[in-house]
């Protein structure tokens, strides 16, 4: 399987561990990544607040790059997934399409609308398939209680994202179970991480983040795992501030999606960039490491 790899901004910079883990997992599962240094930012749900049609046009250009190569697009970020999918949806509106085409055609760019945008979570659960993932597990995550945290834009609006239920998804929990982990079901798993207003009103953002972490812990999670590096910033990089806002320690490690897969498939914590996390993952890793030896 070959896909156009769209890493997104964060995985190329402060979230580099996500890129590392993605490459490791894709190598292990035989997913070939075609790289395009021409991809621009997806807009992240902020650019369209300033200029929606500009955002759609930039993403139509991204999609056209994959289309020219005859490939579907692989995302590793819930927000990239949402924004690129939304461009596909909005381009079906003739008025929007006319404005976007008007900007792209003089550059010799045409997007015909044939590219499917797929998050790694969907590729693993649908294209690779859970039996094939399971067959590669060498270090089952037995005994590790993991709370999946989806990230809004992967799911909603569900009629536009056209994949999972917007409020009751199950693919991530299915994947965790295939890796041997125990999925933790909690209300916060489909809620917001707070990130979008981290720089608007930090205290409110941190309260939102703290609630979801508290909720996962209250349901017995040893760790959370997210398919979105923006959620990861909010839940991991700013967890200390969330703890301050909610008024008690949180201390819950947060994995990126391909890191939990990589752990089960035998990667070392270093190969998955785990030492780069702000909240130490050692205790969670030790829990499965110990069991893998036994």
């Amino acid at each position: 399987m070959k896909l156009a790899y769209y890493p997104g901004c964060v995985a190329q910079e402060t979230g580099k561990e996500l890129d590392l883990a993605t490459r490791w997992v894709c190598r292990a599962l035989g997913i070939e990544l075609a790289e395009f240094p021409t991809f621009s930012c997806c807009g992240s749900g902020f650019l369209d607040e300033a200029n929606e049609v500009l955002n759609i046009a930039l993403n139509a250009r991204n999609l056209a790059i994959a289309e020219r190569a005859g490939l579907d697009l692989l995302t590793i970020c819930s927000t990239c997934q949402g924004m690129l999918t939304l461009a596909n949806v909005r381009m079906k509106d003739p008025q929007v399409k006319a404005r976007v085409d008007g900007a792209l055609k003089p550059l010799g760019i045409e997007y015909r609308g044939t590219v499917t945008v797929k998050h790694l979570l969907r590729v693993l659960t649908e294209d690779v398939g859970l039996p094939a993932v399971k067959a590669k597990v060498v270090r089952p995550l037995n005994g590790l209680n993991v709370g999946a945290f989806y990230g809004c834009h992967l799911l909603r609006p569900a009629d536009e994202m056209n994949w999972e239920s917007g409020e009751e998804p199950h693919s991530f929990e299915d994947l965790l179970a295939a890796l041997g982990a125990t999925p933790v079901y909690y209300r916060g798993r489909v809620m917001c991480c707070g990130f979008p207003i981290q720089f608007v009103k930090a205290e409110t953002a941190q309260r939102v983040a703290g609630r979801q972490i508290d909720d996962a812990k209250a349901h017995g999670a040893d760790a959370m795992a997210t398919p979105c590096p923006l959620c990861h910033i909010s839940l991991d990089s700013f967890q200390n501030q969330a703890a301050k806002t909610v008024g008690h320690p949180l201390d819950l490690p947060v994995f990126h999606l391909p890191q939990v897969v990589g752990l089960a498939l035998g990667a070392s914590p270093e190969e998955l960039g785990l030492p780069r996390h702000l909240v130490p993952t050692d205790a969670a890793v030790a829990k499965i490491g110990a069991r893998a030896v036994a």
């Binding site: 910079e13 900007a103 009103k201």
Partner: protein, 324 residues
């Protein structure tokens, strides 16, 4: 042929402050056809088993908006939510009152906070005092003008969006999805003369606290799509006023950021949004992150094909003359 009945298990939130200070859940099991609405089941419980079960409802036809509640943690109208799929997915049906509003008794909440936020946006046309609409004279709009707010008049004010909203629950300053969707409706109504005032007033009053989680759009039984209307409002507010708030500066900063390199420059964006003082306030956190993730201080390399990105910007976001 009659549908086969299912044994529907209801765990219903019960709370009567006159009798006990804390709520509890009470289980009822009924044999019902899968297409039975949750509301019908609740009324049967009330009429046949426990007459003290307290809930709000009226039309039973998804028009009045009275019976919004939480069904298996989703904000829904009880009258149009069928028991079959809920039982199939969850094995039981947990019924709770709406969130984000004080609970009065069982499934009935005090909707005061919801209505106060609605009133605060002045949900009525503001006409030009110099040119009052004469009695009996129509003030026609074109179909294209009406189309701009075709979704919002569908709203039945059920408050399902308000219940589903994590920004409402985290910050009392957020007006909520319904109030903002309604505000959008007046901002794009060509008959309204307070459009600019409305945009100026809402910017520092909660517009930018929307989390863009789209939970309101999932909860809305009438497809008003409040989260998308809030996005529209933000773009209109920036067009009217530029970057006056952290939120609008963040969106504009993001746009300028990508114009430069095609990718996000995280550190620069923080400066653009929060200013130098904001950066100083975050210096301790910045150092904590930098120790693990030194890339935070580094600008990304520009993407290849920046000339294309620049030309797309020129076509769709031209800089004002004299600003180049």
């Amino acid at each position: 042929m009659a549908e086969e009945s299912v044994a529907a298990v209801f765990d219903i939130y019960r709370f009567d402050p006159a009798k006990a200070p804390a709520p509890h859940y009470q289980r009822f099991t009924l044999s019902l056809a899968p297409h039975t609405p949750v509301l019908t089941a609740l009324l049967r419980i009330r009429d046949e088993i426990d007459p003290t079960l307290t809930l709000r409802y009226s039309c039973r036809s998804a028009i009045c908006g009275s019976c919004a509640m939480q069904v298996n943690a989703k904000s829904r109208l009880a009258c149009e939510t069928h028991i079959g799929p809920e039982m199939a997915r969850h094995g039981r049906i947990v019924i709770e009152p709406m969130l984000n509003q004080p609970i009065l008794r069982d499934l009935v909440v005090d909707q005061q906070p919801f209505w106060q936020r609605y009133d605060a946006i002045e949900p009525h046309l503001v006409l030009d005092a110099r040119h009052p609409m004469p009695d009996g004279v129509a003030n026609p709009m074109t179909p294209a003008e009406v189309d701009r707010f075709k979704e919002t008049p569908r709203c039945i004010a059920c408050a399902a969006c308000y219940s589903a909203c994590p920004a409402v629950s985290a910050d009392p300053e957020f007006p909520g999805p319904m109030a903002l969707a309604k505000l959008y409706r007046f901002v794009v109504d060509p008959r309204d003369h307070a459009q600019q005032d409305r945009l100026v007033r809402i910017q520092p009053n909660g517009l930018w606290l929307c989390l863009r989680c789209h939970l309101c759009t999932e909860a809305c039984p009438k497809d008003v799509r409040p989260s998308e209307r809030i996005r529209d409002l933000k773009e209109l507010a920036i067009a009217a006023q530029g970057g006056t708030e952290h939120g609008s500066r963040h969106a504009i900063g993001f746009k300028e950021n990508i114009r430069e390199r095609g990718l996000l420059n995280e550190f620069k964006l923080v400066r653009q949004t929060s200013g130098v003082s904001g950066v100083m306030g975050q210096i301790g956190q910045g150092i904590r992150i930098w120790r693990k993730k030194p890339e935070i201080m580094r600008a990304p390399r520009p993407i290849e094909g920046m000339d294309e990105v620049e030309k797309i910007y020129e076509a769709l976001d031209p800089k004002p003359e004299g600003d180049a």
